[in-house]
């Protein structure tokens, strides 16, 4: 592979997103909130198109700082698509007096810059910068529901834990630099290959590697570094929870995939046991705890932990097949998660929790996000019921949906490495997953409730339908996507 090096302005998505973020901040001065949403969507579409301009080529940008190849473009495409969908579901922000949509949208676009850096980094410094840009944006958005005590708590918790994890990440990077003398992924990879053969002490390298991995595993909420996830996902406004659980996770796994396959593949035998243990723990904790949740939103938080576990299976079975597997899984997971949160927001909006029950002002902003809120939904709102049902089926990995092929692909990758026992654990946990995903389906279709017909804005409706159609299309014709990779 020959890299052509360009140091001019060709790293389009990053630059476009940064500029459009700034533009959005200025648009915010206009007080014309109606303009913000379409403008953001337009910027995202432009970035999406620009992203794929280099299709089929491999470029190294900024003096070997960032790599752009097909895989990176796919991952970037997935996060841009996810963001597009999340932003399209944000119409209600314009009606919320406390909200500051201009800032939110700008932060979202800035955070995407971080995500894209995490996807294509070739230098560990870029990874660190990307992680920080994304994380800081997330701390802010988590606390954006500022009158809500739980939103504030979540933001503080996320910030404290996140800062700690970033510290470990940075420490790991420093140790790796100390051991190998390089920040560049391929340089570290070469060291790993040659040093293993030479047989000298690699203590510094291993410690650095594990600290780096721990930092990243924290960001993707893998057990046992997942403790922040339920509270943060539950406390943050649903819109931003949808963003966090899709974009942050996709970028985090793209980064893990990149560093494991380029830098650490030479010492696979050393780390795979540790990663396998993390995978099993993540699957067990995520799935089993999700069963006991009464709140749908909290269940989705644990579900996101469990999906981190399935994605980790693709990493444990690291091979050429892992790359399309993780990309496909991320896409399938993002589509269903965003659609599910989209329905949740509609359902919850009409059901504010009774403030008298809690007796304090801070809970006024809370809405009912329990399973019961979905009772009888499908009777009056067949479309919402169907969208939610397809999302749940896809998350549960039932055939006909994209989620099935996602699981199939990560499982295949692991089967190649002979880790069949890991698959058995994963499969048992999928069966547990069906239990909690189907509670929603049961509530919507088989239980009686006094749901009214929910008015859905046309554009909102189109996005929900598009996510569902895409989930089913990828479920029936997975080749659609596979052809790209």
């Amino acid at each position: 592979m020959t890299f052509q090096t360009y140091d001019c302005l060709q790293m389009l998505p990053i630059i476009l997103l940064s500029l459009s973020g700034i533009a959005l901040l200025f648009l915010g001065f206009q007080k014309s909130r109606a303009l913000l949403l379409p403008a953001t969507l337009l910027f995202l579409v432009i970035a999406f198109v620009a992203n794929f301009l280099d299709w089929g080529k491999t470029y190294m940008y900024f003096r070997d700082m960032l790599l752009v190849n097909n895989l990176a473009m796919i991952f970037t495409g997935v996060v841009l698509l996810s963001t597009f969908m999340v932003v399209s579901l944000s119409g209600s922000l314009a009606d919320d007096e406390d909200a500051q949509p201009a800032e939110y949208y700008a932060i979202l676009l800035f955070s995407l810059v971080g995500a894209i850096m995490m996807i294509g980094f070739e230098n560990l410094i870029m990874l660190f910068v990307g992680v920080e840009i994304l994380s800081v944006a997330m701390y802010i958005l988590t606390g954006s529901d500022k009158r809500n005590l739980r939103s504030n708590e979540a933001a503080l918790k996320y910030f404290l834990m996140g800062a700690f994890a970033t510290g470990i990440l940075l420490f790991g990077i420093a140790l790796l630099y100390g051991a190998t003398g390089s920040f560049v992924l391929s340089g570290i990879g070469n060291y790993a290959h040659s040093a293993t053969n030479a047989g000298g002490s690699m203590l510094l390298f291993y410690v650095g590697m594990f600290m780096l991995l721990i930092g990243m595993l924290f960001k993707v909420s893998a057990a046992p570094f997942h403790f922040w996830t339920p509270d943060v996902y539950d406390g943050a406004p649903s819109l931003f929870t949808a963003y966090m659980s899709t974009v942050v996770k996709t970028a985090g796994f793209a980064a893990l995939l990149r560093i494991l396959s380029v830098s650490f593949s030479g010492v696979y035998d050393f780390w795979w046991v540790a990663m396998a243990v993390v995978t099993v723990l993540t699957l067990l904790i995520g799935n089993i705890t999700a069963v006991y949740q009464a709140s749908f939103k909290r269940m989705m938080a644990y579900s996101s932990i469990s999906h981190a576990g399935y994605l980790l299976i693709g990493l444990v079975g690291l091979s050429q097949a892992s790359k399309p597997a993780i990309a496909f899984y991320s896409l399938a997971y993002s589509l269903s998660t965003i659609a599910a949160f989209g329905v949740l927001m509609l359902v919850a909006r009409n059901r504010p929790l009774n403030a008298a029950v809690f007796g304090d002002q801070t809970t006024l902003a809370r809405t009912d996000e329990h399973y019961d809120a979905f009772n009888g939904l499908a009777r009056k709102n067949p479309l919402l019921g169907f969208v939610m049902a397809v999302s749940m089926l896809s998350l549960a990995g039932i055939p006909l949906t994209a989620g099935f092929w996602g699981k199939f692909m990560v499982f295949s990758a692991a089967a190649d490495r002979g880790a069949v026992w890991l698959l058995v654990v994963a499969v048992l946990m999928s069966a547990v997953g069906i239990y909690y995903y189907f509670r929603v389906v049961i509530a919507m279709y088989f239980r009686e409730g006094q749901t009214d017909t929910i008015r859905v804005a046309p554009f909102y409706r189109i996005v929900l339908i598009a996510a569902t159609v895409l989930t089913l299309a990828l479920g029936l014709l997975p080749n659609l996507f596979q052809g790209l990779i």
Binding site: F404, A415, A431, I434, N479
Partner: protein, 489 residues
């Protein structure tokens, strides 16, 4: 290509029904199912009795090689082994729809569309030639039946159907692991593995690997059929489901399990069957006896038929694991025969419930007095079910039992109890409901007419056709069974 139509036609019909109106949904669904039956009829009468796959289709689906071959494929075709389940699915579905003509279900468009979707998925299972396509339809069949049972079922439906759903999914997920494993074991051809079931037959797996692949498949199918001790979901689900769903479950869906045993387990892991087959056989025979004994004690007609079905399917599994030509032929014809009989019995239970408001045997009695038609039809189907010579049940059970007897005399004897117990519980049911003094509820019992009568008449024709001239079915399946036997030895 005809096979592809078998799958697509019900989907098109179901979509049409879904978007039709409440008043015509029923008729539209019946027309759709009859259309499917016509295609099945063409397949049945033009099927050439050899060991080749016929009417096939084959398209690349996923992970294909650069030249478009291998990978996971959309490929299906019919051979002698698929033929009878396909005929069963094509025949029974229109009868199930016809059997609902005198009733009204809420939201009929969804109800009938789900039945047709179910038919498409079942057809897919029976014709799939690719391991993952098989799995795909195997799971896809679960969704419509789950909704049918949980939306139109009885009081306790939510908990019961949920148990059913989780149980069966759990079983099939294990199958998924086995399929992924087998898929990655196939040799690379132009850079791609193959998921064709025929390529799985050719794998040379170690005995240890075969052992666990055997269990992964076996649990999936044992839950579906169900076999002892994986049967606990079954009686409640059968009872709580609306009768059309029960008919689909007992009439067709459990055959997916038997079919899977024949199509996948025996030829893919012959060594595994060598080691574990006797264990499976013993489980099956325990189920036969256990199911029959419980059936004798039942008072609810539907529950009684559910346990009898549990007992009968154990015999089919035992016949398959005898790994003899007799046993396999018997299992194939018994799939069809049992499908016909059990649908008839559940329908009769439903008719009695509609007319009297109860299925409890001690509240019934004396129905024969003013119902000549029901008496005759019920008797014929019942005799088929207890395997009286000249009926369809006899052919299947005779072949199955001789297969099992050839495998091991003592197991054969134990399995033979099914005939004795079958006669006991079936005749007891008949006697308690039809004979004796009329109970208050049955005094004004009205005989069958119209659509109800046609359904039972058609079923009775099949009871005799298969009983008097089984060769018209067996000669079609024989070459394929003989071909399969090569992989088993």
């Amino acid at each position: 290509m005809l096979t592809l139509f078998l799958i697509l036609f019900p989907i098109v019909a179901a979509t049409a029904v879904l978007f039709s109106t409440d008043t015509i949904a029923k008729t539209a669904a019946l027309i759709g199912a009859i259309g499917e039956l016509v295609i099945v009829g063409v397949v049945f009468f033009t099927f050439v009795a050899n060991d080749q796959y016929q009417f096939g289709f084959d398209y690349a689906w996923f992970g294909a090689a650069t030249n478009g071959s291998s990978g996971v494929r959309l490929s299906g075709a019919i051979d002698g082994i698929s033929l009878l389940p396909v005929v069963l699915t094509g025949l029974v579905t229109p009868l199930i729809i016809l059997s609902t003509f005198k009733q009204t279900y809420t939201r009929p468009t969804s109800f009938y569309a789900l039945i047709l979707f179910m038919q498409a998925a079942l057809m897919g299972v029976f014709v799939a030639r690719d391991g993952f396509l098989f799995y795909f339809f195997f799971e896809a069949a679960l969704i419509p039946i789950y909704f049918l049972a949980a939306m139109w079922g009885g009081e306790n439906r939510i908990a019961v159907t949920f148990k059913f759903f989780v149980y069966t999914i759990f079983g099939s997920l294990l199958m998924l692991v086995a399929l992924v494993y087998l898929y990655r074991q196939t040799p690379l051809v132009s850079g791609a593995h193959s998921a064709a079931i025929a390529d799985f037959y050719a794998l040379n797996l170690s005995a240890k690997a075969q052992g666990w692949v055997f269990w992964a498949f076996f649990i999936a199918f044992a839950v579906k059929m169900p076999l002892f001790p994986f049967h606990t979901w079954q009686p409640d689900t059968y009872v709580e489901s609306p009768t059309p769903a029960t008919m689909l479950l007992a009439g067709i869906m459990l055959k997916m399990g038997v079919y899977g045993l024949i199509r996948l387990i025996l030829p893919i892991v012959p060594e595994g069957v060598n080691i574990w087959g006797s264990t499976a056989m013993i489980l099956a025979v325990i189920g036969i006896v256990y199911g029959a004994i419980i059936a004798v004690r039942q008072r609810d007609m539907k529950r009684l038929i559910a346990y009898s079905s549990f007992s009968h399917v154990g015999l089919m599994a035992a016949g398959v694991f005898s790994r003899s030509e007799m046993g396999l032929q018997g299992a194939l014809i018994q799939m069809l025969a049992h499908g016909v009989n059990v649908v008839g019995l559940f329908f009769i239970a439903e008719l009695i419930l509609q007319r009297t408001g109860t299925r409890q045997l001690d509240q019934l009695g004396g129905i024969t007095r003013n119902t000549p038609r029901l008496t005759v039809y019920f008797m014929i189907i019942l005799l088929g079910s207890v395997a009286l010579p000249l009926t369809n049940g006899f052919v299947g059970e005779f072949l199955l039992l001789s297969g099992v007897y050839g495998y091991n005399h003592y197991i054969g004897l134990a399995a033979g109890l099914t005939i004795i117990f079958g006669a006991v519980y079936m005749l007891r049911m008949y006697q308690k409901s039809m004979f004796g003094q009329p109970a208050p509820r049955t005094a004004t019992f009205v005989d069958l007419a119209g659509s109800d009568s046609y359904v039972l008449l058609i079923l009775c024709v099949f009871v005799f056709w298969m009983g008097l001239y089984p060769a018209s079915f067996l000669k079609l399946t024989e070459p394929a069974v003989l071909n399969l036997m090569q992989f088993i030895k």
